[in-house]
Symmetry: C2
Subunit: 108 residues, 2 copies
Amino acid sequence: MGATKTEHFTDRQNQIATIAKALGHPARVAIIEYLMKVNECICGDIVNELPLAQPTVSQHLKELKNAGLIKGNIEGNSICYCINEKTFDVLKDYFSKIIFTVTNQKCC
Amino acid sequence: MGATKTEHFTDRQNQIATIAKALGHPARVAIIEYLMKVNECICGDIVNELPLAQPTVSQHLKELKNAGLIKGNIEGNSICYCINEKTFDVLKDYFSKIIFTVTNQKCC
DNA sequence: AATAAATATCGTAATATTGCAATATTAAAT
DNA sequence: ATTTAATATTGCAATATTACGATATTTATT
């Protein structure tokens, strides 16, 4: 026990859960907000911005990238991260659908 | 170490992370989809619907409720759960804002 | 009052996540 | 070729999550 029973759920359910999970940590939300703010895609600055050590930030970036929420482009010495809006679209559409379906449903 | 440094982040960042985290498990996504499908707010049926034991489902429901994603009303013997669309609105608005801001931003 | 039905809570094992120091990798600059 | 910089990876301790059997709680039914 202890491990999530991924195989019992649909691909869609796992997809949404994976993306949501990646946003389920305030540091990663903060990274997204920072990337949104700086317009240009900077990288090492995130370490200066957050109260976390470099390896920790690197790990959070990796998770955001795995979930498809950000993109990382190698630019010479450094790596440039930026938001991948397509994945945010997936979430927005999913929630819009839920809200559309549930509105006008009577609850208990 | 090991504990999330919640106190270093803004209330807003923690709020979004908490809601997203609650959706970060396929079983909880499945519960939301089931509640959406059945229109009427049923409860014990969720246990029959999912491949998880009753205490596990109960625990997931608790987390969804704590995050504000569902509501639970006592109805005699049983408890009736249903989607709380207000919290989904929070997420949708948040993501819409991100998408609006990022669109037309050039990436690296 | 006793029983049954529905759900929550407790306790615990298995697993996953978080955070960081130390170290490795990679590419630019000297 | 060395040094410097930027970032990733490794290893590990602390903590959190997941899942469930056993048990408690709560309300309806008999």
